[in-house]
Symmetry: C2
Subunit: 211 residues, 2 copies
Amino acid sequence: MEQETHLTESQPASPGTLRPGGRTAKVRRAVLDATQDALADAGFHALNMDRIAATAGVGKTTVYRRWGSPVGLVTDLLHDMAEQSLPASDTGSLAGDLRTNAELVRATLTDARMGAVFRAVIAAAACDEDCARALADFYRTRLGEWAPVVAKGAARGEIPAGTDPTELLRAVSAPLYYRFAVTREEVTADVAERAVTAALAAARDGVFIRA
Amino acid sequence: MEQETHLTESQPASPGTLRPGGRTAKVRRAVLDATQDALADAGFHALNMDRIAATAGVGKTTVYRRWGSPVGLVTDLLHDMAEQSLPASDTGSLAGDLRTNAELVRATLTDARMGAVFRAVIAAAACDEDCARALADFYRTRLGEWAPVVAKGAARGEIPAGTDPTELLRAVSAPLYYRFAVTREEVTADVAERAVTAALAAARDGVFIRA
DNA sequence: ATCTTAACGGAACCAGTCTCCCATTAAGGG
DNA sequence: CCCTTAATGGGAGACTGGTTCCGTTAAGAT
């Protein structure tokens, strides 16, 4: 809603888009870094615009003007995270690739810093629609990066043709995130392994064939 | 942390435990109802102790004293929700029972009121350890109620003996909650159906046999 | 090099939240 | 039925987080 506010005022565009040179970019970097730090060691509820401005070494007016609110910060952080994509693996077998994927997700969620960030992001998305959209985009991007892995597996005949790649990938991630965010159980290597095995078993049975 | 505060003071116990007669119980009921209403139509970020007190027709001091903070309210609401258990189904086949379970979860998450409550609860749990524990307890309870359904299915030979009941149930719920809380995709009947089919396929393959 | 103005930053200001104090009500025991 | 005291309730005051104003800095154009 802050976003809307200054758009409807006399401002021609949202700040940072018209003159995104050195200073503006530096400010954004500092603020997003500070945001991630804050989320990592205090969580979303403790996210405070004022403190972010202080640790980023930036005027708090700037933070309020450009991001508007704590969820605004998280939303932009999410956009930033979506931009820096990391490539999918290629172990030669679908099972191997999915195992790598699951292990990557597990490592991220288990990592003290990244785990806290993801927790915060999920909480923020539960509070705000814009943030929810950014989160959805983030995962759409991530799943899209891994989809070719599944397609190749299908081409090799490891799973039936017509299997929906992202559907299989979701099946791998779901048990990990479910434990991480909902039941708050520990996400062990065992859980990741079982997620892969289960998803593959279902895929072989043709459960994920696109309708 | 509020909880701790008045425990360490001169108070002998937390309020409401020593004299839980008519009034105290009535206050709790009113406050928890108001909390659920507030979560349903404004979300967790908008949860406000002051307003809760007003709509519950209760002094705000009472709300602060007994619950301390918004997460405190949600935590207690969660305990309350865990207490009112609803029984598992018995359609005669494991597939049927799991389908009922998945459909129940889907209906809950899709329902405007309950969906909002669950979203809020997940957000709150991401912010606070006590609340996280309460959430974990809630699901431990729920899964425990449905475990017999799986055991009976195993006894009937629909899935291998030694299958971990709650593990199978988690596999059914995970894709629904993953979409609901993480990727924020729509939780359709189709998704629920596929979750059941996939979980069953994996179970038949012995993926969920207890180590 | 100079100019225009987008974007930043400091400080005062305002508002909504929480806390504390003390009077009032009623639960549970005799 | 009465007494003790747990628990509630109203209101004043403090505090923190957010907003606005206006002067300053430097990006991008000429």
